[in-house]
Symmetry: C2
Subunit: 220 residues, 2 copies
């Protein structure tokens, strides 16, 4: 019995560019200029790693208060900039298909409730679908904790799980967890970046994945 | 005598993610959801091609008034979202170095004055540096017109020009113009996407290019 474990932002909902821009504005407001593409390539890693990496770009470490203030401002700006959530193409249909066909699946995200509620609502995720969020584990991606927690709660074996994600952090975390992974271009990475990070397959988006489930051997 | 022809947005100034997000909001306000990554991969192509491609995503053609309204709203949102302009790392130093060492160079952008003035100011571009903008030619990228107009005004031969850009549209236009091209990652494309589109070299940003000018045979 195979299982699919999904990342959320950039994989099922179209939020990556709003996150990038909200971070860029939060830094700019604090007088710190960080290149958009460097932020983009770090979306989806843990907040702690993110601010440490940002500090390296700026040439000095950010102290914990500063990091917390940036994170809070990012959250405010994100909510203002993107009041609604758009599922990525095929995401709603894919979730519905997995459910209807009793294919084991769950979501494992670096985000937290209540921030992710709007995304889950937009996707029409049933309340009994397993969602592992940041607060449920000690360490976020690229550590494997989120995916391993999801696998354990789903009651499947590590080697039977596929991780589906849009960022190299998802793919790295899945390798650390001992799971196969599938990359989606819908978060804005290039195909080759995802393949080189270990993706077994790369699809454009959830819609192409839905039409390619045969290739993965997850259909009953 | 070799010459360097530069793209502006994403190559010298950090504006790509603000452009992506401004387009995404302009479409969302008009009730049209277009994935962020698809907008990202089309930044830098001509506005006409862009709205035609957007129409294909939406499954219907946009009429000229609709396209013009979207373009105007994008401009307003962009100005609100990004009141200041940040040069990308090394961009100011690179421009200064080329000038000091009398290496022939110019800028060829799909943007137009007065919108691009803030970017040129942030870069400290001297008023006598050649800037070819959208209105100077009939067709924008990926047609070669902008680069060919720049080359002709610089008084150099096509085969002596390098185009420096962050998007596959720059690289495609440079090939159509018969020029070599250099890709920069600072617009958020992956390295492989730029190499496959024909970039002779790919650097992280203008700073790495500045430190790599030896490799290009442009130093006097």
């Amino acid at each position: 019995m195979r299982a699919l474990i999904f990342d959320l932002d950039g994989t099922l909902v179209d939020t990556v560019y709003a996150h990038v821009f909200a971070w860029q504005r939060a830094f700019a407001e604090a007088g710190m200029a960080i290149d958009g593409w460097r932020i983009h390539r770090r979306i989806g890693m843990s907040g702690g790693l993110f601010t440490r990496a940002a500090g390296r770009e700026l040439g000095r470490e950010l102290d914990p208060q500063e990091a917390a203030a940036l994170q809070e401002r990012h959250g405010e700006l994100f909510a203002q900039l993107l009041p609604e959530r758009h599922p990525l193409p095929g995401a709603v249909e894919l979730m519905r298909f997995l459910r209807a066909n009793k294919i084991v699946h769950g979501i494992a995200t670096s985000g937290s409730r209540p921030e992710i509620n709007a995304s889950l609502d937009a996707l029409g995720i049933d309340p009994d679908v397993l969602v592992i969020e940041r607060g449920h584990v000690l360490r976020a991606k690229p550590e494997p904790d989120l995916f391993l927690a999801c696998q354990q709660r789903l009651g499947v074996r590590v080697e039977d799980c596929y991780v589906v994600g849009d960022a190299v952090w998802d793919l790295l975390a899945s390798r650390r967890a001992g799971m196969l992974s599938i990359g989606l271009l819908s978060g804005g990475y290039g195909e080759d970046e995802l393949s080189r990070a270990g993706a077994f397959r790369v699809y454009r988006d959830a819609l192409e994945l839905l039409h390619s489930l045969d290739e993965l051997g997850v259909l009953p």
